[in-house]
Amino acid sequence: MELILDGLRKAFWLLVTMDPEVFGITLLSLKVSGLATLISTVVGISLGALVALARFPGKRIVVGLVNTGMGLPPVVVGLFVSILLWRSGPLGFLGMLYTPAAMVVAQAVIATPIVMGISIAALQQLPQKLTLQVLALGATKPQLARILTKEARLPLLAAVMAGFGGVISEVGASIMVGGNIKGYSRVLTTATVMETGRGNFETAIALGVILLLLAYAVNLVLTHIQQRERPR
């Protein structure tokens, strides 16, 4: 218990003094996970709409795969992305291993099935006849997708929040493809693991608290948008 209090005190101290290293780590966490969430939102919602609204053979299998993808172990994703980015790997020429960019890619891979899976569910729970009604109003296919997406905006925003939550807290892939390099690819989660491994529990808890605060702040903004969208 005392350890947690020490951790909280340290977190407070780090934040108040704006410790430059912690500040840098936090900013990087936000940048990496933010960008990854943005990518996964665009890809996930677009593909999700495509799958949800189209009729094609094997649709159920595809949805099953996406749902499975939601539970992809991030560590496994990290491993596969590493293998691709190794110098000896197919994408080795990019020289992208151990960079924040690689972390963004890995996190985007982790978040996209989450966003896509929830998007599919969000669109499928719209009344079936709504699609007919929108078509009857003379909508083109893109207009239909736009309108239905707008109709499902509440659960879709939840999908984005789920995607963000999944990657801001992710550590396995981030370590593997990012390397936890000080001042360069170190983020809150990887730093927490490192401090824990060193036995610096106080610092680890402090970083954990800051991570929670960061996640909370972002979700506060997203939730505000989600709830504000509702007309009186």
Binding site: L35, L38, I39, V42, V43, I45, S46, A49, W86, R87, S88, G92, L94, G95, M96, L97, Y98, T99, P100, A101, A102, V104, V105, P142, A145, R146, T149, G179, N180, I181, K182, Y184, M194, T196, G197, R198, G199, N200, F201
Partner: protein, 284 residues
């Protein structure tokens, strides 16, 4: 959604991603991947050495801290340019297999056997690590092993081998699979013995309920070498960068920095610079 908007956003995002990393791609020769161990990183020595090296030479060093086993595996696959490790037996195999072009002695520190003040196994003050381990096994006293193929773990297993004991599977022998700091914490919690490097122990001493029981045995020396990965096996390796780094850590002024490291913070030297010496001479 307007058909073009999502694609546009995606394009912007990907462009941002690439632009972010572009500097590194453009200057691949400026990057060096240094594979080293977690304990080396945790000591904090690299936080001093690396910036100095980067400032002096303009290289960008990506320090990847993993277990000794993984570090050498990375060297074997050409995924690292230079290694800073401390597993002499494995290193010799590595060199024999032709994966490294240069292996230079850098520094050493030592391991110590720490344990509860109560010292059930009665090993306090012993001069022989092997003997101490035998007594621990005999008294079935609780012993924490890292069990993670790290350098420390390799050293510990070597001592058990030398003592002719097989501790795996026995109730008093517990493998944490964790880093040194955490393992020390567990040992402190459970009041068991463990093998630790001096640096990590000193850094955490205040919080631990453990004392040094055995030290000074030559077999407890923890010897660091810097190895340049062989570019003939892997052309993509940054041989020039590796060479520069190896030269740097063995250079006299760097060696002086290594020697002075930790004195002010922990009151004792963490590392002993050895660039000029030979491995066999150490510990005499």
């Amino acid at each position: 959604m307007n058909r073009n908007r999502p694609l546009l956003l995606l394009a912007v995002a990907l462009a941002a991603c690439l632009a972010w990393s572009a500097p590194e791609y453009a200057a691949a020769e400026r990057n060096i991947i240094l594979a080293t161990t977690t304990s080396t990183q945790d000591s904090g020595l690299l936080d001093v050495l690396i910036p100095a090296f980067e400032k002096k030479t303009g290289y960008f060093v990506k320090t990847i801290a993993v277990g000794s086993g993984q570090a050498m595996a990375m060297g074997r696959k050409g995924e690292a340019d230079v290694l800073l490790v401390h597993s002499p037996e494995a290193e010799r195999v590595f060199m024999a297999e032709g994966f490294g072009t240069g292996r230079r002695l850098v520094m050493h520190n030592d391991f110590i056997i720490v344990g509860p003040a109560a010292d059930r196994a009665g090993i306090a003050g012993m001069k022989s690590a092997v003997g101490a381990f035998r007594k621990i096994a005999a008294s079935q006293a609780l012993f924490m092993s890292r069990g993670d193929s790290s350098g420390t773990d390799a050293k510990e297993k070597a001592i058990w081998r030398a003592a002719g004991i097989k501790p795996e599977g026995q109730k008093w022998y517990q493998e944490t699979g964790l880093g040194m700091g955490q393992t020390l914490n567990v040992a402190s919690e459970k009041q068991g013995y463990t093998l630790s490097d001096r640096g990590t122990y000193l850094a955490l001493k205040k919080r631990l309920d453990l004392t040094i029981q055995v030290q000074g045995d030559r077999g407890l020396l923890n010897i660091y070498h810097v190895i340049e990965v062989n570019p003939e096996k892997w052309p993509k390796v940054n041989a020039a960068g590796a060479k520069a780094f190896a030269a740097f850590v063995t250079a006299p002024d760097t060696q002086a920095v290594i020697g002075a490291f930790g004195v002010d913070k922990l009151g004792s030297h963490l590392f002993f610079p050895d660039a000029e010496k030979r491995e066999e001479d150490l510990g005499r």
